[in-house]
């Protein structure tokens, strides 16, 4: 390191110049290659069986999430003006480029009204020309209320609102489309009619747009705060600016490389700067803090001496922390999900860049710009705050050993219980603020209709025409009813059975007792033929394949909360064996289900990788300190931080979702930094003095100072995120801050105490007191 530093010092301007060139190239790469990947489908592992199956089923049944537009009129929708609006709005939406087929827009205007006529079956629209007379409206209203396939699904129970479902082309949602639809909808407001726009494509699409844009708004504030706090603790403008340059450059180089090799920015990658700030600032603070202490201690040293001392003494800990942190992140490469792998690889790269800039850019910059100012000792004050209180604090900890251990145990138990309460939520909607128009609209639709989220249960039989068989149809009917009755969240279901029951009833003079599956396979087959011959729409093929071998039982759920989804899936699972007994396989499909599986994959991957990181970190630290025991001691802060981090989520009832889960990796990055710096400094002091009291005081004053600076800077910087509009960003701010705090406390209390008690590095193991 000495040689490198000498080289850097001799060629400091060249070094800075090269770094600037690299940065400029990276910026160029970012600007010319920038691409944000917001399409959720590209995040899913394509070859995972659940996704392969779902994609196949989605194609068979044309399963796509629908945008839902609700028209509400408090006096009831059965009037000429509102019906005109339903018709006009339907037609206008049908004209949109993203609508492939007119049949993809389902409203009271386009829905099939399957009803009986005097001599037969009639499948017609509820209206073509907008009715004028009350009699006509009464007739339509009676038709709606007595039609099980329309009532509550398309028209609300109280008759004051109606829905227009629009299936748009795959991957066609854009922000512009959302505003276009809002603008179209807006035109029809007024005269007592209110319009709501909801649905999963909008929630997903808006989230993909909102999350980075919220981050873009908040991030400069985070940076600004960090600059301010950094300046306050380091009391040097130069050191502050150089630190920020190190952190920002490492982010720029990372994104430059990532975009340069053609990888777009996926959502997890937007967390990379967050990671690099928290971790990179640790490097620079430790270096500058060391430098300032040396300036105080050796006022007569030359600039070169000071710099060389800084890099040589700090090389080991900075290198060790960076390597272990990087390897910790690399454990995420075991994830099934590509964007997570990119996140892991490039965060690891960024951490190494932060190390490189700390050890090369800082010396070069100081050489060119001059030494940063060090806090001056005031008259009558011997040491700075840390030097003064370090020993007292250290002794306090040592004396209160039992208290520390007891407190730790309590913390572990308390937060351990909290950990067991952690739940996973893949809900997109619940990430928005409660008063967001999307949330209130969704709530409106859920309150008045069957629900905004769909689960598709795909039933695959061993032979064709199975879904004309009364036994199979009866079972579907039973499952549909029971799942709906046993799950408050399930608003209703739709399956091929609804078509059969409806036809059976209307062909028997609308008698309620015929609202059932007829016990005659031929009759069922003939009903379907009648349906096809009577001009029934292709919507039948959304629930059954044309060979009647595969069926799609759809459930509409009021909300996309994981607990509700899992509850519904569990109660459907109960019928798996009953279906199997009659030769039918049960599977799930659709976006709601895929998101659930996807989030499980992320979380399981995350937990797995946390476990791997622990092992890797223990091994690396043991190798670096050449002691397994020290390796174990070094993981104490990570261990405690992780438990508290998840424990808090559990106790505060904050669900784990992708961001919250990923951000918890920061516990490792930060925990390692603190532990390594502390142990390394402790080791240097111990080997130099062989006096445990002195070692303790020196270490607290040196590492303790840097660690607390680091903690204060990052905590204050990230706390601002808790003012964000976006729930995952709030959680991120809170988790980063909390992890910094607990890592800090765990390092200087428990880990320090165990280190002290173990008497490591002291050949004479008897007490020096």
């Amino acid at each position: 390191m000495k040689k490198i530093t000498e080289l850097v010092l001799k060629n400091s301007k060249l070094t800075l110049f090269l770094i600037l060139i690299g940065t400029a190239a990276s910026i160029y790469s970012i600007v010319s290659n920038f691409a944000l990947e917001t399409n959720l489908d590209t995040y899913m592992p394509k070859d995972h069986p659940a996704f392969v199956y779902s994609d196949k089923a989605e194609e068979i049944f044309d399963i796509r999430d629908a945008i839902m537009i609700a028209i509400e009129n408090k006096d009831g929708i059965y009037n000429t003006a509102t019906f005109q609006k339903i018709k006009d709005l339907t037609k206008e939406i049908q004209q949109l480029d993203v609508v492939e087929d007119k049949d993809d827009v389902l409203s009271l205007y386009t829905a099939d009204n399957i009803k009986g006529s005097e001599e037969g079956l009639e499948i017609k629209a509820f209206y073509k020309r907008v009715p004028k007379s009350k009699d006509q409206f009464d007739e339509i209203e009676n038709g709606v209320v007595s039609n099980e396939m329309v009532y509550k699904r398309i028209v609300s129970e109280d008759g004051t609102s109606t829905l227009i479902f629009t299936k748009i082309k795959e991957d066609s949602f854009t922000e512009e489309l959302y505003y276009e639809i809002l603008a179209i909808a807006g035109k029809y407001e007024g005269d007592g009619d209110k319009i709501y726009v909801a649905g999963q494509p909008i929630v997903e699409g808006t989230m993909a747009i909102l999350m980075p844009s919220d981050m873009k708004k908040m991030f400069p504030v985070v940076l600004l705060l960090i600059v301010v706090v950094l300046f306050i603790v380091l009391r040097s403008l130069k050191a502050t600016i150089i630190s920020m340059i190190v952190v920002i450059f490492s982010s720029i180089w990372t994104f430059g490389l990532m975009l340069g090799v053609g990888i777009p920015v996926y959502a997890p990658s937007s967390l990379i700067p967050v990671m690099l700030i928290a971790i990179g600032v640790a490097d620079t603070i430790h270096l500058f803090s060391h430098l300032q202490l040396m300036i105080q201690k050796h006022p007569n040293w030359s600039k070169e001496q000071l710099i060389t001392n800084m890099t040589t003494e700090m090389f080991m800990p900075v290198m060790m922390t960076s390597v272990t942190t990087s390897v910790g992140f690399l454990s995420l490469l075991t994830s099934d999900i590509l964007p997570i792998k990119y996140f892991a690889a490039f965060t690891a790269f960024g951490v190494m860049m932060a190390m490189f800039f700390s050890l090369v850019l800082i010396p070069a910059a100081i050489t060119v710009l001059g030494l940063p100012s060090a806090p001056k000792k005031k008259e009558g004050e011997e040491d700075d705050f840390f030097a003064k209180h370090a020993k007292g604090f250290a002794n306090g900890i040592v004396k209160q050993r039992k208290l520390v251990i007891g407190a730790t145990l309590l913390v572990i138990i308390f937060f351990g219980i909290g950990m067991s309460k952690v739940w996973i939520n893949s809900s997109f909607l619940e990430r928005f603020p409660d008063d967001d128009p999307l949330v209130t609209t969704d709530a409106f639709v859920n309150a008045n209709f069957l629900g905004t989220t769909t689960i598709n249960v795909i039933l695959e039989a061993d032979q064709v025409d199975k879904f004309k068989n009364p036994e199979a149809l009866e079972l579907i009917d039973k499952v549909a009813l029971e799942v709906q009755n046993n799950n408050a969240i399930v608003g209703g279901g739709l399956s091929v059975v609804d078509f059969i029951k409806r036809m059976n009833k209307v062909l028997h003079e609308d008698r309620e007792e015929y609202y059932s599956v007829p016990n005659d396979q031929d009759l069922i087959a003939q009903y379907f033929l009648l349906y096809e011959m009577s001009g029934g729409s292709d919507r039948l093929w959304d629930v059954v394949s044309d060979d009647f071998k595969t069926a799609n039982l759809q459930f509409q759920l009021k909300g996309d909360n994981s607990i509700g989804l899992n509850g519904a899936i569990e109660s459907i699972e109960k019928y798996r064996n009953q279906f199997k007994d009659i030769g039918i396989e049960l599977n799930f499909a659709g976006s709601g289900y895929k998101v659930l599986v996807f989030n499980d994959l992320i979380l399981v991957g995350q937990v797995k990788s946390l476990a791997y990181s622990f092992l890797i970190v223990i091994v690396l630290l043991s190798l670096m300190f050449r002691s397994f025991k020290l390796g174990l001691i070094g993981t104490i802060p990570i261990f405690i931080t992780t438990i508290i981090s998840f424990g808090v989520l559990g106790w505060l009832n904050i669900p784990l979702e992708t961001t919250t889960a990923l951000i918890s990796s920061i516990a490792i990055g930060i925990g390692i930094d603190y532990a390594v710096h502390f142990i390394d400094r402790y080791k240097i002091n111990a080997l130099a003095s062989q006096n445990i009291e002195e070692t303790v005081g020196e270490t607290m004053a040196h590492s303790g100072r840097a660690i607390s600076f680091n903690a204060v800077v990052v905590i204050l910087g990230f706390l601002i995120l808790t003012f964000s509009a976006f729930k995952p960003n709030i959680a991120m701010g809170a988790i980063v801050s909390l992890n910094m705090l607990t890592s800090f406390i765990a390092t200087v209390t428990l880990m320090f105490m165990i280190l002290y008690t173990s008497k490591y590095f002291f050949k004479n193991k008897s007490k020096n007191k």
Partner: protein
């Protein structure tokens, strides 16, 4: 709807006629429209629906038709698949332009004849890629025709005519290839409202039976949905002496 399928064959001749030279498009269309057609007949019929994955659904029927001048009647009995066997369908089409077809379906499992409410002409026939309108004769007066030219198709010389409806209908236009020697269309392209190709009808086999050109096999492909329907006829008898008494609800119930 006109007497289905067998007359479809003729119906498909809708727009064209052949003169060897110097004919106007309208004349060609009339030539097809006014072609000599059998007054009655029967045949077996197979309708195969093929979806985009290549899965087939096959329906076998036996059909009778009669042309009574102002009314054309048709009756069809399903012979397969087994679950709809003996189901029968009857259709009466009237010459009066605004009079809707009458249609009935007999469901043996219900032992009842059900009336099918007069379907809109642009509804699919039996879930196939043919609409009711596709199977009917269309008066050349309802379209404006342009003769685009002459083209060889399967070694036969064809007129190519473009027909645009005078009143807005289910298609924006049709492009018809009319065989110069037989006065039957060999191919029709149907364009949707956006003027994009929607469906292609291909006549794959014709036979000269008792002096009538009869389309024996034809395929309608919906290129937008990638779905197609093949209709083929077997055991064709024309002018076989079928009488009006065959076309009643009682006969539907009696079966073949």
């Amino acid at each position: 709807m006109k007497t289905l399928v067998l007359s479809t064959t003729i119906a498909l001749l809708l727009l064209s006629g052949t003169y060897l030279q110097a004919q106007t498009a309208k004349e060609i269309a009339y030539k097809v429209y006014n072609r000599k057609a059998p007054k009655n007949g029967e045949s077996d019929m197979t309708m195969t629906l093929i979806n985009k994955k290549g899965n087939k659904r096959v329906r076998n029927l036996h059909q009778f038709f009669i042309d009574l001048g102002s009314i054309e009647k048709q009756i069809m009995f399903f012979t397969a698949p087994a679950d709809v066997k003996n189901t029968s369908f009857m259709n009466w089409t009237y010459d009066e332009a605004d009079k809707e077809d009458d249609q009935w379906l007999y469901l043996p499992a219900l032992m009842k004849v059900k009336r099918i409410s007069s379907s809109s002409k642009d509804n699919d026939f039996m879930g196939s890629d043919f609409t009711y309108e596709d199977m009917e004769k269309r008066s050349p007066e309802r379209d404006n025709q342009i003769l685009i030219g002459s083209e060889n198709l399967n070694g036969e010389s064809h007129w190519v005519i473009e027909a645009t409806p005078k009143e807005e209908g289910q298609y924006a236009k049709r492009k018809v290839w009319v065989s110069k020697s037989k006065s039957i269309p060999s191919k029709i392209e149907f364009y949707d409202e956006g003027n994009e190709l929607l469906k292609v009808l291909t006549i794959t086999e014709t036979q000269l039976i008792k002096g009538y050109w009869v389309v024996v096999k034809q395929e309608m492909k919906n290129v937008q949905k990638n779905h197609k329907t093949v209709i083929s006829l077997m055991n064709i008898k024309v002018e076989s002496g079928i009488t009006e008494e065959k076309f009643t609800q009682r006969e539907m119930e009696r079966g073949l």
